[in-house]
């Protein structure tokens, strides 16, 4: 090929690449992509510039009303907020954005694989900045490991003091704590050996050694890495239904100690899967690492009838029925854990028409969604709250007792919910 032709072809190709996004944006005519299912957030769109505002701004300048002119039009340019928004929008509204992001992630992976090729590490980063890891066989994604040092000890001490205070100030309330030992806190995190401050099961040991003796506590323990693989999703941080049902049994036993006349335990008649559903969970979304998708299983459990209220309104909280009828999103990275089990809400109330007068306050996280209705079936009313919502974290326990006639409190979730983070602890 002649040099002239080669240069021309090269210029045309690069120029086509350079001009395509601009043509794409102009062709959208303001119809921007506003939602990203993959990222579960709103995308930034190009800001609008009004010629009318510009004219008014100029007029104000002419009139010597500079402050007003700034407010009407110019300030956003002077402060740089307009430029920053355009910069962000250019990235978030980019033509073929997700395939480009995937291309960048494959570059990350190629570099990471070559860095770790000759090393014995059982897991390595899933991408440059996701903060997630993948095991060497590429089977499981995992969160970064948790550290355990003086700061963590102090956080646990504060939480222990919180429990002591709750137990002392509310002697008539039955307290239970159920901890889910997740991989980052366990002895089986594949990279524990490389991190001198890895939690490695230490935080739980520390809590157990120092917790109030009269605090009813049980733990969903991991016994091996294989155990983790069996009980948690590959692509999502949550546990699967099989692990949840095991936990339900343990929690039932925990409750029974202080609730002898608890109704009989529910049993799963069958565990089935949603046919054809491939679940790429939150870790897959975050890292875009090509791990084999998960299957979404559910349990068939005979339950008494109940009503669910979300923030006081009667609601079909769970998406279970829709899923069983084949009504669910086919988007590759759709959040099926949330879709099937229900969205995290400020206050979820389960109401059962049973004889018991006991009402449960369940202080928990998204992990509880798989079994919270089974647990609720043993109480008259159950109120599920997540303290990461400000509406809940600012309330004292007495307020919940007063409002909902609470008799039992179950703190249930991963370590940040059960024994860490005094901020996320219920206030005495």
């Amino acid at each position: 090929m002649k040099k002239y032709i080669q240069n021309l072809v090269f210029i045309l190709i690069i120029f086509a690449l350079l001009i395509s996004p601009l043509i794409f944006w102009l062709s959208r005519n303001g119809a921007w992509t506003e939602d990203s299912i993959l990222e579960d957030r709103k995308l930034v769109v190009f800001p609008q510039v009004s010629v009318q505002d510009f004219k008014i701004g100029l007029k104000r300048v002419y009139q010597g009303l500079y402050a007003e002119a700034g407010e009407v039009f110019f300030n956003r340019f002077i402060s740089g907020s307009f430029q920053r928004t355009v910069n962000k929008a250019a990235a978030e509204q980019m033509l073929l954005r997700i395939p480009l992001v995937e291309l960048a992630k494959s570059f990350d992976r190629a570099v990471i694989h070559s860095a770790y090729a000759a090393l014995p590490d059982e897991a390595y980063p899933a991408s440059f900045n996701s903060g997630l890891y993948v095991d060497r066989r590429g089977e499981n994604l995992m969160q970064d490991l948790a550290l355990f040092n003086q700061a963590e000890k102090e956080a646990i001490d504060t939480r222990i003091a919180n429990y002591e205070q709750l137990l002392a100030e509310y002697p008539d309330i039955h307290f239970y704590v159920y901890n889910i030992e997740t991989l980052p806190y366990s002895r089986f995190y594949p990279l524990n050996a490389y991190f001198p401050q890895a939690d490695n099961g230490q935080s739980l040991d520390y809590f157990l050694a120092n917790k109030p003796e009269n605090l009813a506590f049980a733990n969903f323990a991991l016994n091996s890495y294989a155990d983790y693989q069996k009980r948690f999703f590959r692509t999502d941080q949550h546990w699967n239904i099989r692990a949840s049902l095991d936990a339900y049994e343990q929690i039932y036993a925990l409750l029974k100690d202080q609730y002898p006349d608890i109704s009989p335990m529910l049993t799963a008649e069958a565990i089935k899967k949603i046919d054809g559903l491939e679940f790429q969970g939150s870790m897959a979304r975050k890292s875009l690492y090509p791990v084999e998708p998960d299957i979404l299983e559910y349990a068939n459990v005979s339950m008494p009838a109940y009503d669910t209220y979300v923030d006081g309104e009667l609601s079909n909280y769970s998406g279970r029925e829709n899923y069983l009828n084949g009504i669910y999103s086919r988007e590759k990275f759709f959040n099926h854990y949330r879709g099937f089990y229900g969205k995290q809400q400020i206050l979820i109330q389960f109401h059962f028409n049973n004889e018991t007068r006991r009402n449960l306050l369940m202080v928990t996280s998204s992990y509880s969604r798989t079994i919270q209705m089974y647990l609720a079936s043993h109480f008259h009313d159950t109120y599920v709250i997540d303290l990461r919502f400000e509406e809940n974290s600012t309330k004292r326990l007495q307020q919940f007792i007063d409002d909902y006639d609470i008799t039992d409190v179950l703190v249930f979730g991963q370590p940040t919910v059960t024994y860490y983070s005094a901020e996320d602890a219920i206030k005495p």
Binding site: P21, L100, K286
Partner: protein, 469 residues
């Protein structure tokens, strides 16, 4: 606006390129170029663009006054000096006002009056361009430019506006008078731009993570390996970043029909510190050589006040000040000044007797030590870092490449090290000579451009594990 930004790549750049090539007349092209440069600068500096415009106007007028005075047989030295001072005033004032360590009443008053005051992007580059222009006019090396548009384009030329290379007016004069482009220029300019983009986006930006994490430890709690990893990462990062930006500037300028000077010549292969400063940020050192060192040398011959060594020290001190007016930059400049003095006195002669390899090891070690001064702002943290470098730190094991999660960038460091030698350039040049491999190279460049875009776009990707909160 930065070259690797998506706004530049996919909005500004294609529009400018189209408009620029609609008409080949010099006047039209100069108008488009100036408008483009002003938009480019205003995007990042919507207020300081007025300072740029004022300085353009001032220097256009000052150049003509100087020329007239000289033509009339007078001495325009004082006028030139005043004009240089006028140019330097905003630079020095804003640099001092935006450096927290300086507590002068005037600066504090400025800070109170303008709480959001910050150092303008590219001010030293357009100031130096102006100074160079005025001095050259006064020396009679060039005639004052009567065409305001051309002078404005010389000072505000967007490819070099923010990070250079610093050019002299006479080097751009012909191109400004008739900016001509052909297909070869555009293609080669694009190729050079993509190479620079690759250096910046794929290597420098990733190695910055390593350097920032290691230097961010601010102590000796690290093994020697980690300290060296961080130091090498920074050395490669700063080179890839700056030379990448220069490549992009040279490539862009070429696409617009301008030839900008080279700024780097494989500086890590230097055989002495003097050699390093002939290969690193060459346009800045040329500027200092022409406008500070040479006048001082002439003064030395005339007045016998200065020795060459003290002139060297002055130049390097100014170099330090130019990078920043914090103690670390000043000491960094002084450090290279002292080594240069030693080399010009006796060390240089000794070095030449050593094998080339040892000369390079000597220079590289001193350059790397210099980067420690450059990177660590707090002078008190230099000692612990050097201790770590020589294995005398106190590594607790808490800070390792794994715990800092930077091990994964190691292949990019190796790639950057290789790219710091002429190896890739030689391969590139050889492949260019062959028709088939030249095509392969172009295909590779297209792919790399796509990858750079992908990496830049992926910076906006934010998926959260706990997105509900």
């Amino acid at each position: 606006m930065l070259f690797p930004s998506l706004v530049f790549l996919f909005i500004f750049f294609p529009i400018v390129l189209i408009l620029y090539n609609l008409n080949r007349s010099a006047a039209y092209r100069n108008v488009i170029l100036l408008l483009a440069s002003l938009v480019f600068y205003t995007w990042g500096e919507p207020v300081y663009v007025f300072l740029l415009l004022l300085l353009i106007l001032y220097n256009w007028a000052a150049g003509r006054w100087i020329d007239k005075k000289n033509a009339a047989g007078g001495d325009a030295g004082l006028l030139t000096g005043i004009s240089i001072a006028v140019n330097l005033l905003p630079l020095v004032l804003l640099k001092a006002a935006t450096t927290a360590q300086f507590n002068l009443p005037l600066l504090n008053a400025l800070r109170t009056q303008f709480p959001n005051l910050r150092f303008p992007l590219g001010i030293s580059f357009f100031t130096f361009s102006a100074i160079s222009y005025l001095v050259d006019v006064n020396r009679g090396e060039i005639e004052a430019e009567t065409n305001l548009l051309r002078l404005a384009n010389y000072m505000a030329f967007f490819p070099k506006l923010l990070q250079g290379p610093i050019t002299r007016f006479k080097d751009m004069q012909t191109d400004l008078a008739s900016p001509r482009t052909n297909l070869d220029d555009i293609a080669d300019g694009l190729r050079r731009f993509i190479i620079g983009l690759t250096k910046k986006v794929l290597i420098a930006d990733n190695l910055a993570v390593v350097a920032d994490k290691v230097f961010g430890l601010q102590g000796s709690d690290m093994a020697a390996g980690l300290a060296w990893y961080g130091l090498l990462a920074f050395a490669v990062q700063i080179y890839m970043d700056f030379s990448g930006y220069t490549d992009m500037a040279i490539g862009l300028a070429r696409m617009l029909g301008f030839k900008l000077p080279e700024n780097f010549n494989f500086p890590y292969l230097s055989r002495s510190i003097a050699d390093f400063w002939r290969r690193w940020h060459m346009s800045l050192m040329n500027f200092f050589r022409t406008y500070i060192f040479m006048p001082l040398e002439i003064a030395r011959r005339k007045l016998k006040h200065f020795r060459q060594q003290s002139n060297l020290l002055i130049v390097f001190l100014v170099t330090g000040f130019w990078h920043g007016i914090t103690p670390n930059f000043i000491l960094w400049g002084l450090y290279f000044g002292l080594i240069s003095v030693l080399e010009s006195s006796f060390l240089g002669r000794w070095l030449k007797k050593l094998p080339v390899f040892l000369q390079r090891v000597y220079a590289l070690l001193l350059i790397l030590i210099g980067w420690v001064f450059f990177k660590i702002e707090d002078v008190a943290n230099w000692g612990p870092f050097f201790k770590a470098l020589v294995g005398a730190g106190q590594p607790s094991g808490l800070n390792t490449a794994r715990t800092l999660n930077i091990l994964m960038y190691f292949p990019l460091l190796l790639l950057g090290i290789i790219a710091s030698t002429p190896l890739f350039k030689e391969i590139y040049d050889r492949m260019r000579k062959n028709k088939v491999t030249s095509l392969v190279l172009d295909a590779l460049l297209v792919g790399v451009f796509l990858l750079c875009t992908a990496v830049t776009v992926s910076g906006s990707y934010q998926a959260f594990l706990y997105s509900e909160f």
